[in-house]
Symmetry: C2
Subunit: 356 residues, 2 copies
């Protein structure tokens, strides 16, 4: 069966401010030394499995030109702009409906656009295995990540280790972000995986479940899919999509459906969730500084610095995140990167929308 | 007798990098919220005592255009460029020789260009009193500053409290920068003043002492002064000045001469010796931050920030000095501002002269 990929690229990540802006969020930034943006990497690493003509991007109108610019080889009609954000269920359902209309059926890899994968061969092998398991009718596969520490910022997947078939495990349940103690018990038990937000299924399988658990969404999607390929498509999409229920695929389908399976992934996944990720994914110097740019350090250690052409001199400082851009500079304690949203709230309150 | 002022503006201060550069040192910067540069303030505060036509600036060739630009009302011929730095004795001697040639004799206020004075009326009153004391033949007056804490970065003046005449005290001796224990004992004794580097004397008095204690300098100065007012002046200056002995007036004259007096000054003197001075001379917010520019702080305190147009967002940081310029950014621990010279040494080693 045909293999397709649907990449979600509509997010307006705030955690990489001031490099990420509403006009250019994380997936369109390069956060690695090779200069490739996150979404370019996401498409590129699929090459052994999916041809570019079968890769779809779900984004929003504001990012259409960024997508076309950064992915010039993708068929333009494969880039679909949501008229408004409606969480993951409508986006997934829309992609599945359009792919069903075009190909009758196909396997879909549903993937975020802003994660990093260190071991790409393992990743492709895992996706291939998942695509096999997805051929079974109604099967919904989610990739789990074998946890390496008690992270409290992710949801977890509880899976049944004794029910494995060819490395594919039945999912017992999904659990919300835990507190540290709970996360430690998850890690210890060995029955929990991080929920990576990567899904594999046939279009027919996910649409079957959407029809069953989210009938209102299903009906709306049918109307939009009917217009696909006609001149009315965009006006129908723009009219109907905003009326779809806003819901995550996790809550709307995965937590309710049967036939849910997971594959524990071990391919160096990194969701690059904050500036702190940069010291994981890039080289640090002998003082544990991650320095990108023209940076001079004296008596300074454990800092993460993203420069912007201009020279940055650091003297006697530690545990800082420093991010330089043309119109804004961030100097942040490493323990408070989660509070960058407070800066954005403040800028919003001061009507400094040009800096958001 | 005519009152004149000679302002020293040839220094290449490094402690205000990256705002101060070799091309624009501290005396030409504005470090206060009123936008006036240090040298502009120095000239302006003399207005009640000395007219601009009697104010002379000793600088070097590189800063001639900065002086003319910032002090457009000063007679251009009053701005004298040293061909090379030769410490204070030749500069003072040169100014005294030229003033003697022009006016026969005059009282000279010899002043640094990069200090701040908070109580200008007290300052002018003190200078006026000093100018009276300077009328007595051979008298050399130095302004001392009543110390308020045991500073180890200044030299001290030991004076005889029981020999006062109209608030003018005989100087017993000059002492070098003390260690903390010694500085504490000076403070306690009440017989010591900070050496501010401000001198008052008649041109004839200082030349008399230079002739006596630095005869080689005196002879060289005579040759230059003879050419003053002729077409040859600049070529004579450029040829002879570099041959003069490089010496401070303190070591060359003040520590040897008799007739040395001091007036304890109490006029809110600040030598603005490092970025830390900014929080003394400017307002701080409720979190002890001195913020100059478009600065947003969250959970941040005790920082000194000199912005440069661009927005600076600070989150969870403390005890930092942050200085933004077009081509260089400094982020420095408050306890290490004395090490800024290490940055400059590094830049020099890397041949980044454009940043010096």
């Amino acid at each position: 069966m045909r293999l397709t990929a649907v990449i979600m690229a509509g997010g307006v990540g705030e955690r990489f401010w001031p490099k990420s802006r509403q006009s250019c969020p994380k997936q369109f930034l390069s956060l690695t030394s090779d200069g490739e943006t996150m979404i370019q990497k996401t498409v590129k690493r699929l090459a052994p499995l999916v041809s570019q003509k079968d890769i779809y991007i779900i984004t929003n109108e504001h990012y259409l030109s960024l997508v076309h610019e950064q992915l010039p080889d993708l068929p333009p009609e494969n880039v679909i702009a949501e008229p408004c954000p409606r969480n993951t269920a409508p986006a997934i359902g829309l992609a599945a409906s359009l792919i069903q209309k075009k190909y009758q059926d196909a396997v879909m890899f549903f993937l975020p656009s802003d994660h990093l994968i260190h071991h790409e061969k393992n990743y492709i092998d895992t996706l291939r295995k998942a695509s096999q398991a997805a051929l079974q009718d109604k099967n919904l596969i989610t990739l789990g990540i074998t946890p390496t520490y008690p992270e409290t910022g992710y949801g977890y997947i509880k899976y049944q280790q004794n029910g494995a078939q060819d490395g594919v495990y039945p999912v017992e349940c999904f659990v919300e972000k835990p507190d540290l103690q709970t996360a430690e018990s998850y890690l210890k038990s060995g029955n929990y995986l991080w929920n990576s937000g990567m899904f594999i299924w046939k279009a027919s399988s996910i649409l079957h479940s959407i029809k069953k658990y989210m009938p209102e969404l299903y009906q709306g999607l049918q109307i939009i899919a009917d217009a696909y390929g006609t001149e009315e498509f965009h006006s129908v999409l723009n009219q109907k999509f905003p009326e779809l229920p806003s819901e995550s695929i996790d809550f709307g389908v995965m937590e309710k459906a049967n036939h849910i399976f997971t594959i524990p992934g071990d391919f160096g996944w990194d969701d690059v969730g904050s500036w702190l990720a940069l010291e994981r994914i890039n080289q640090t110097d002998e003082n544990q500084n991650m320095l990108d740019g023209d940076i001079l350090t004296i008596d300074s250690h454990n800092c993460t610095v993203a420069g912007n052409g201009r020279m940055i001199a650091m003297l006697g400082v530690q545990d800082l995140v420093i991010v330089d851009t043309d119109d804004a500079l961030l100097i942040c304690n490493k323990n408070q990167t989660q509070d960058i949203k407070k800066i954005l709230a403040e800028l919003k309150a001061e009507h400094k929308s040009e800096l958001l």
